[in-house]
């Protein structure tokens, strides 16, 4: 709360200095003692933390890296290439993401599956995360829901530029996703056993109309859930 300074001449007590100095020292000492000897609320949802009042310190800083603030829902996080259920990328190397990317940081080379009903896949799929401006256009442009920014993770820091160039092996991770019109579901794929295929067909979702549909979010991913997880971790650590 901002400290209000009224524009008035000092009264008698203030013009005597010493009582005010002692009062100021008293205020500082009070806060010092409270922050030093009373507990700090460790609720990872920092906006909900209690501060001040009896039994709580005024201090709301995070003890990074033990405590981490969850990112806001608007934060999408690092790219990932969405896998099919058999571990291959959903991506068909259509270059839509590379075409729209304003930072021109996506590099793709297409190749052909010898046997799969989807003929094309990215033999090379590279994103230069240093150049990426995290606009999410690639996610919007993808006609196959094959690239997402739903990991909620920050790009890990590194000492070399080359470590920030993510290739398909690093990008391909996270839970797989199926849609009813996936060609490998419709036509079958030599790399998916028939019973697994039946199961996938039963589970497949209708195709979302916009890329940011709830249906196209990674199942189980939410900021609240992440916060709750962190809270549990913190409590377990305290016990």
């Amino acid at each position: 709360m901002p400290y209000q300074l009224e524009n008035r001449p000092p009264d008698l007590r203030e013009s005597m200095y010493f009582p005010e100095i002692i009062r100021g020292i008293g205020t500082i000492t009070k806060h010092f003692l409270k922050n030093l000897f009373f507990s700090r609320d460790a609720n990872p949802d920092i906006l909900a933390r209690k501060r001040g009042g009896f039994g709580h310190s005024d201090n709301v800083t995070l003890q990074y890296p033990e405590e981490r603030a969850p990112y806001a829902p608007a934060y999408r996080g690092l790219h990932r290439l969405v896998p099919r259920e058999d571990g291959k990328p959903r991506c068909v190397a259509c270059y839509m993401c590379a075409t729209i990317c304003p930072a021109q940081c996506i590099y793709i080379e297409a190749a052909e599956y010898p046997d799969d009903p989807v003929e094309k896949y990215p033999a090379k799929f590279v994103i230069d995360e240093l150049r990426c401006i995290v606009c999410g256009f690639c996610v919007e442009a993808c006609p196959k829901d094959a690239i997402r920014m739903d990991s909620g993770e920050h790009t890990p820091p590194s000492y070399e530029r080359s470590a920030q160039i993510w290739d398909e092996k690093r990008l391909l991770r996270g839970p797989p996703v199926s849609y009813q019109y996936d060609p490998w579901l419709r036509r079958g794929s030599p790399s998916i056993p028939p019973d697994k295929l039946e199961e996938m067909r039963a589970r497949a979702k209708p195709f979302p109309t916009v890329a940011t549909d709830e249906a196209s979010q990674t199942p189980g991913f939410s900021v609240r859930a992440l916060a709750a997880e962190a809270k549990d971790r913190a409590q377990a650590a305290r016990k």
Partner: protein
């Protein structure tokens, strides 16, 4: 029972259709298309008549060089003389005198939407996988005329996804809309009916006859005329997206016909040739051998000058290479044991400068013609002579009074010991075995690649092929055809004319050119009237396409190049500017 009354007189004839109006423009047919008056020759189809006044009628099966099938129904329009007011196929109906054609009424639009919905019913909408994306009429017309979501709620019909029709063409039967253009092309243009439609209704598909692959030499053209992505080129399949690529107006170097082509390139790599329309040369077709003849532009190139051969080879700095070449040649000039080998694969500009240097710098009286060995020939396009510029070589040599002798004479002269040094402008030779015999000579070679004669060169100068320069080829009929530079010379390679001019300068000739245009302006008049009314700047301006413009910034800090980046080339900025089309 009343007896049927016989009419005692024949009833008056019902009024027949009104007599056709007298022609407004005698000898021509005058009609109204969308309120615009069109005057065309009798027999012109509505589609062409509408095109003449700038009205586009969508079509799939119609192709102006093929017979009319009128089976796609995309081009239906309203015509005032249609029986019962039916919609008529504009591709098939000739315009008649006084007809009113309407192409934008609600009925026509509704029909176009319905046709598109029908065509897309079983189309797999593979656009993200399909190689034709960006060049597909289904995509274009869907955006222009349809824009409706699919109402299909039963599974689509599934057909062969990857049928290898032959060595050059792969078919996706699901994507085919059965316009039969490919079938008609094979029957009428290639005159080798290898394709047909099998089955009925929505089960029908395009196929070859059992056990007979689509191996015609002109089969590649069906990929170009297929309006959708059903027929794809096995060579180009999945190698790049067409919207990234730029096209330069070029000429095929596969044979002496010199088919007009588009050279599609990206990041200094040539990806494919497509035929460019020229009624006088190749209409709009090209042969499969020509289509794949681009490969030497990309692979196996020499990019730095070099001295010595085999294990002793070492790179030569660009500045000293012409001087070293001159030092190798000069003793042979003095001894009269020098021969000049010119390749008919080089352009007219290259050969003009080379002939000038040969005549005035090296003081020879005759040149030998190298070039690729003869191949197959037919009565359509392909010529046996697989060199694009033999006529140009003869013209350039004649302009400088040099006699042209065949390659065999050079081998004989070298065998007899009369020739000890050789300057080869282009190292293509018709006979690889004979080239081995020339290995004993002291050779200065200008070469695109590092094969055959180039391996025996004492001094090898890297040359740029036609994708990297502006120039002219003269085809076997004597028709001079310009081609345009697609990208800057790779590495330290330079066009033959630049290398020859540098060599000439090292020999003391006052030669310096900044562009192919300058070469032609300076030396072209030597040719006299041999090229007819050819004008160097007359390359038709339509048709070249600039792809997505690459980022100006390179990837200098070691990052991987994005696929639109132009990695900075070694050529200096000054030289690049001098070589560029604009300055």
């Amino acid at each position: 029972m009343a007896e049927e009354k016989k009419p005692d007189a024949a009833p008056p004839k019902p009024p027949g259709p009104p007599a056709p109006p007298p022609p407004k423009n005698p000898g021509f047919v005058t009609a109204i298309v969308d309120g615009k008056e069109v005057v065309v020759k009798p027999g012109t189809t509505v589609i062409e008549a509408a095109k003449a006044v700038g009205i586009d009628i969508p079509y799939y099966c119609y192709h102006k060089r093929l017979s009319i099938a009128a089976n796609c129904r995309m081009c239906l329009v309203e015509m005032s003389n249609a029986p019962g007011g039916k919609l008529m196929p504009a591709c098939q109906m000739p315009v008649a005198e006084g007809v009113t054609v309407k192409t934008d009424t609600p009925r026509v639009k509704d029909q176009q939407r319905a046709t598109l919905e029908f065509l897309l019913l079983n189309h797999p909408v593979d656009c993200s996988i399909c190689d034709q994306a960006g060049e597909c009429k289904l995509q274009d017309y869907y955006m222009a005329y349809d824009r409706q979501p699919s109402r299909l709620d039963v599974p689509k019909v599934m057909k062969g996804k990857r049928v290898e029709l032959g060595p050059t063409v792969t078919l996706d039967q699901e994507r085919c809309i059965l316009c039969t253009r490919c079938v008609r092309f094979m029957r009428e243009v290639a005159e080798n009916p290898q394709l047909g439609v099998a089955q009925r209704g929505n089960e029908s598909f395009i196929t070859t006859f059992p056990g007979q692959p689509l191996d015609d030499k002109y089969a590649g053209n069906v990929v170009d005329i297929c309006p959708v992505g059903a027929l794809t080129s096995t060579d180009f399949r999945f190698r790049g997206r067409v919207w990234f690529m730029s096209s330069a107006r070029s000429v095929c170097t596969g044979c002496a016909r010199g088919c007009n082509t588009f050279l599609d390139y990206l990041n200094d790599v040539t990806y494919r040739y497509r035929p460019r329309e020229n009624d006088a040369v190749n209409e709009e077709w090209m042969c499969d051998d020509g289509r794949t003849s681009y490969k030497y532009l990309n692979a196996g190139r020499v990019l730095v000058a070099r001295e010595g051969r085999g294990a002793n080879a070492q790179p030569l700095p660009r500045k000293v290479a012409p001087r070293r070449a001159a030092e190798v040649l000069l003793p042979h000039v003095a001894a009269g044991s020098l021969a000049v080998l010119l390749s008919p694969v080089a352009s007219l500009e290259d050969l003009l400068v080379a002939c000038k240097v040969a005549k005035e710098g090296l003081k020879v009286g005759e040149v030998y013609a190298g070039g690729r060995a003869d191949g197959w020939q037919d009565d359509f396009l392909k010529r046996a002579d697989e060199n694009p510029n033999r006529k140009g070589l003869e013209l350039a040599a004649a302009a400088y009074g040099l006699a042209v002798r065949p390659f065999a004479d050079l081998v004989a002269a070298a065998g007899a010991g009369k020739v000890k040094g050789l300057w080869a402008v282009g190292t293509e030779v018709p006979d690889a075995k004979a080239a081995e015999k020339l290995g004993a000579l002291e050779i200065v070679a200008q070469s695109y690649g590092d094969a055959a004669l180039a391996q025996h060169a004492a001094v090898l100068l890297p040359a740029s092929p036609h994708s990297e320069m502006d120039g002219t080829f003269v085809n076997f009929e004597g028709r001079a055809q310009r081609f345009e530079m697609a990208y800057f010379p790779k590495g330290e390679s330079r066009p033959h004319w630049a290398l020859a001019a540098e060599l000439g300068a090292a020999l003391g000739l006052p030669l310096a050119f900044a562009s192919g245009r300058e070469v032609f302006a300076a030396l072209g008049p030597q040719l006299g009237s041999a090229l007819g009314d050819f004008a160097w700047d007359s390359l038709p301006s339509t048709g070249s396409r600039l792809g997505i413009v690459p980022l100006a910034a390179g990837t200098v800090d070691g990052r991987l190049p994005g696929n639109r980046d132009r990695v900075p080339s070694e050529t200096t900025e000054d030289y690049r500017r001098a070589m560029s089309r604009t300055s």
